[in-house]
């Protein structure tokens, strides 16, 4: 891949990711509302919300917070650039977990019962997802020939969609996406819709533009996650892009459906389920793949 293409892809990511994810989010809210028998807000609602957040007065209990949140946002974008410009997938995951740490630090910067309770739940969530996130690059590494963590090589060197070799990884990844998207039943550390015992959890103390930045960062992160979903389907054939888009939409709809048909579980169960699915689905897949490729 030439440097120019990488730069173009990165710029596309920076500009398009919030637009696309914002729209998906808007549709999500509309569809959720319809599933609940309501009319629901406008599809552009997420953008109105975001704009509003940046216009609000800035309150804070601690100045540290803003600086942490900005760093969180920057790091997510950095990770996204690494991903979409086709660099090493494992390093993208590492960069994502570093960014998560900034979010954690931001929310504990204030002495608030809800945000710190939320933070610890967030930590549990990270702990629940991280194994699967790390396993995904491992899966791709094993599935592609020659073995590589490199995103662009994964796409270029596969003749078939990798999901054929990685069904378990895909299932596991989709499972933790529910956690990552903070959707019911795993919206335990903060939630967009239904009320929470920890109020807004991690974001409870984030006001105005801080909350706006967190939202934006979540969009950028979701773009990466959808990108990884797409990676399961992309191969050297350009037509696979269509498949990838369909897959993203299916996953997106599935998440909305799950969100609307389940209760929030407790973190103990979440951890158990997430790790269980990771070990069973991804672990088995890994084992078989090693036998095939070994």
């Amino acid at each position: 891949m030439t440097v120019q293409i990488r730069v173009i892809l990165a710029v596309c990511y920076i500009i398009l990711a919030p637009i696309i994810i914002g729209l998906l989010d808007g549709c999500d809210r509309k569809i959720s509302a319809r599933m609940q028998g309501r009319k629901g807000p406008s599809v552009l609602q997420p953008f109105y919300d975001l704009k509003k957040l940046f216009e609000k007065e800035f309150l804070s209990a601690n100045k540290m917070q803003l600086f942490m949140i900005r760093s969180y946002l920057c790091f997510i974008i950095l990770a996204g650039i690494l991903f979409f410009a086709g660099f090493d997938l494992l390093l993208v995951v590492f960069a994502l977990s570093t960014s998560a740490m900034f979010l954690i630090l931001a929310s504990t910067a204030t002495h608030s019962p809800f945000s710190s309770q939320g933070t610890h739940r967030e930590l549990v969530q990270i702990m629940a997802c991280e194994p699967m996130e790390l396993l995904v690059p491992v899966g791709f590494y094993l599935a592609t020939i020659p073995k590589t963590f490199n995103v662009s090589n994964i796409v270029r060197n596969s003749d078939y969609s990798n999901v054929i070799f990685l069904p378990g990884f895909f299932v596991g990844f989709v499972f933790i996406l529910t956690i990552k998207f903070r959707k019911s039943p795993f919206d335990i550390s903060t939630s967009h819709h239904a009320h929470q015992e920890v109020v807004k959890g991690v974001t409870a103390e984030m006001v105005g533009k801080e909350y706006g930045m967190v939202t934006l960062a979540e969009w950028y992160e979701n773009a990466i996650l959808y990108g990884i979903v797409a990676l399961f389907f992309l191969n050297s054939n350009p037509l696979s892009i269509v498949g990838a888009i369909v897959a993203i939409l299916c996953v997106w709809f599935l998440e909305i459906l799950i969100d609307n048909t389940s209760a929030r579980v407790k973190w103990q169960l979440m951890l158990k389920l997430a790790w269980g699915v990771t070990i069973i689905a991804a672990g088995m897949n890994l084992f078989l793949l090693e036998i095939i490729r070994g």
């Binding site: 569809i31 319809r34 599933m35 028998g37 389940s262």
Partner: protein, 131 residues
């Protein structure tokens, strides 16, 4: 589906049917006739006896005998209908349609044309209501 996501059916049904949402602010709401929206007065019938004022639990009504005014603070009325029941002349009624919200609380005032009769007539009318 058993234990797992049994709500799916309902949710999908909702998704593909019309939402239950009213069109409210754009299409006005139709109220059933019994709806207790606000208290209305037929000022011609009122005899300014003040019964409503005294019976109103939150004290929303004032009757100014001297100034011949009957007024109600609609932001204070609890639509209980007790005044309607107590009014000896049955000139009060409670009808659909509520007081619009607004930035100011105000009183709604009505001029009452009633001319008090001779002082002698006064005691009997309320006495009938009281007991």
């Amino acid at each position: 589906m058993g234990q797992f996501l049994p709500f799916t059916k309902q949710v999908l049904k909702n998704l593909f049917s019309k939402p239950a949402t009213t069109q409210y602010p754009f299409v006005p709401k139709e109220y059933p006739e019994r709806t207790r929206g606000h208290v209305d007065i037929d000022s011609d019938k009122c005899i300014l006896c003040g019964m409503c004022m005294r019976s109103c639990p939150p004290g929303a009504i004032t009757v100014d005998r001297a100034g011949k005014k009957w007024s109600i603070n609609r932001f204070d009325c609890i639509q209980c209908g007790y005044c309607v029941e107590k009014c000896p002349k049955k000139c009060l009624s409670i009808t659909p349609g509520y007081q619009e919200p607004g930035p100011e609380k105000f009183r709604y005032e009505v001029e009452v044309p009633y001319e008090p009769p001779k002082p002698a007539a006064k005691p009997q009318a309320p006495a009938a209501v009281e007991k």
